[in-house]
Symmetry: C2
Subunit: 264 residues, 2 copies
């Protein structure tokens, strides 16, 4: 179905039964790759009971110490949010996002990330995601069970993959509309994290970032560049920019120490 490269990442899940039910929902909709980040109470027997005929998905699950580790090799990282902040984060619906996921998964590893049952993904976790998806619900009760949220997303991906002719090779309109994957090979998450780290250091060095604004500014930067879905070359451009900025800042500092103006 073209969804082989889509993984579901469950961050700090509280209930093993929900993990099992999520595995079943995944297999129902053609997803097979599950990654658990620091489960809070892991009980394989309970998970297997809820997985029913998806025990094979559980048997092949990967454990990771951190979200960063779980998504390091992913070109597209999609976070889920059920919170009121979803709109603020520019969240899209699963249906809107599905064609881009399908297209990106043709040439990239893609992660769909879910937070703990009680509070969802933290702001730090969401900052590592290039896309935020939020499931439409009734106003009266917006909090979905974890496995139900996995199901709705996977269901939309399955339908989008089928609409795409059962393969993810064609570039759908959705990807273009959101500046997304297409069939480009996107920069992996660990590469982007390096880029952001270098950018942050450089922007601090020139005083663009300081204690009061660093967090919101970096988040804004991540949202903008995240939306752009950078490929390897584009990430390299920003890495080079960060290096250049840092170099200038160092030169300036050196000049200040030596009582001279920075070299031109």
């Amino acid at each position: 179905m073209g969804l082989e490269r889509v993984r579901v990442v469950l961050v700090r899940p509280q209930h093993a039964g929900n993990v099992g039910a999520a595995a079943r929902a995944m297999k129902n909709m053609g997803l097979e790759r599950l990654v658990l980040v620091a489960p809070q109470h892991w009980d394989p027997a309970q998970a297997t009971t809820m997985a029913v005929h998806a025990a094979d998905v559980l048997a092949r699950l990967r454990r990771a110490e951190s979200l960063a580790e779980a998504i390091a090799d992913c070109g597209l990282v999609v976070g889920t949010s059920g919170r009121a902040t979803a709109t603020q984060l520019g969240a899209l619906s699963p249906r809107t996002l599905a064609p881009e996921i399908v297209a990106a998964s043709a040439t990239n590893d893609v992660a769909l990330v879910f937070g703990p049952e009680d509070h969802g993904l933290s702001n730090d976790d969401l900052a590592r995601c290039q896309r935020v998806v939020s499931i439409p619900t009734a106003d009266a009760y917006g909090s979905l069970n974890l496995a139900q949220a996995v199901l709705v997303c996977a269901y939309e991906f399955l339908l989008a993959a089928a609409a795409d002719g059962g393969t993810a090779a064609a570039a759908p309109t959705g990807a273009a509309a959101h500046g997304g994957g297409g069939t480009r090979t996107l920069a992996a998450s660990e590469r982007l994290e390096l880029m952001y780290a270098k950018l942050e250091t450089a922007l601090r060095a020139i005083g663009f970032l300081h204690r009061d604004n660093a967090t919101p500014m970096m988040r804004a930067l991540r949202r903008t560049l995240g939306r752009a879905a950078l490929d390897e070359q584009e990430a390299a451009v920003f890495l080079g920019l960060a290096r250049q900025i840092a170099w200038v800042a160092t030169a300036r500092d050196k000049a200040l120490v030596e009582g001279k103006a920075p070299e031109r």
Copy 2:
């Protein structure tokens, strides 16, 4: 949202926990009316635990002795099927069916019917439904958890209702395409059952139905007329037809007994 008149009917559910999880899924997607038909092991405490903040949906649930009773007043009855026979039954996807459900619910009570977890709705149950819906799944594992199936259907209805301007007043194209509800008031299920019963009696009387073909023929008839979504007047036409056929058959029998040809 225009979905106030849509009820979820769970026929002979096996696990009370699934009923609770289904109630939660319903409330998540704006459905509030739940009917239980002969639950196999009813445990309100277990159901309430799984319902979380949808205990009010459980508190208001209605019990029925039979599917016929649960849907007696419904103008549109939609059965769910996950089986291979779904295609044979002319099953539609939730997305395809959603606009018709939304349109019909403006002027009709609508039932969405789910069978027991293990085997789904029986053929007799499905024969009482004018529509059959089947959720697309991956080939590897097509069997959804009951509450997951409720969620996907309700999610599609919610999105269709929202697309419909948040009200169900407008007649969407889907309804016309499937000869469906529109804003017509459809014949209630108990009225249709009376019509089918009279038709069956009449068609047996003239030898059109006999022991070997009665079941498949009546099912075919139900599928055809079900697809047509009869209103009260149209149902009355078929009731009148049944009465006329029965009258002719009786007249013929009487003539045969008396050794005369039937009157013209």
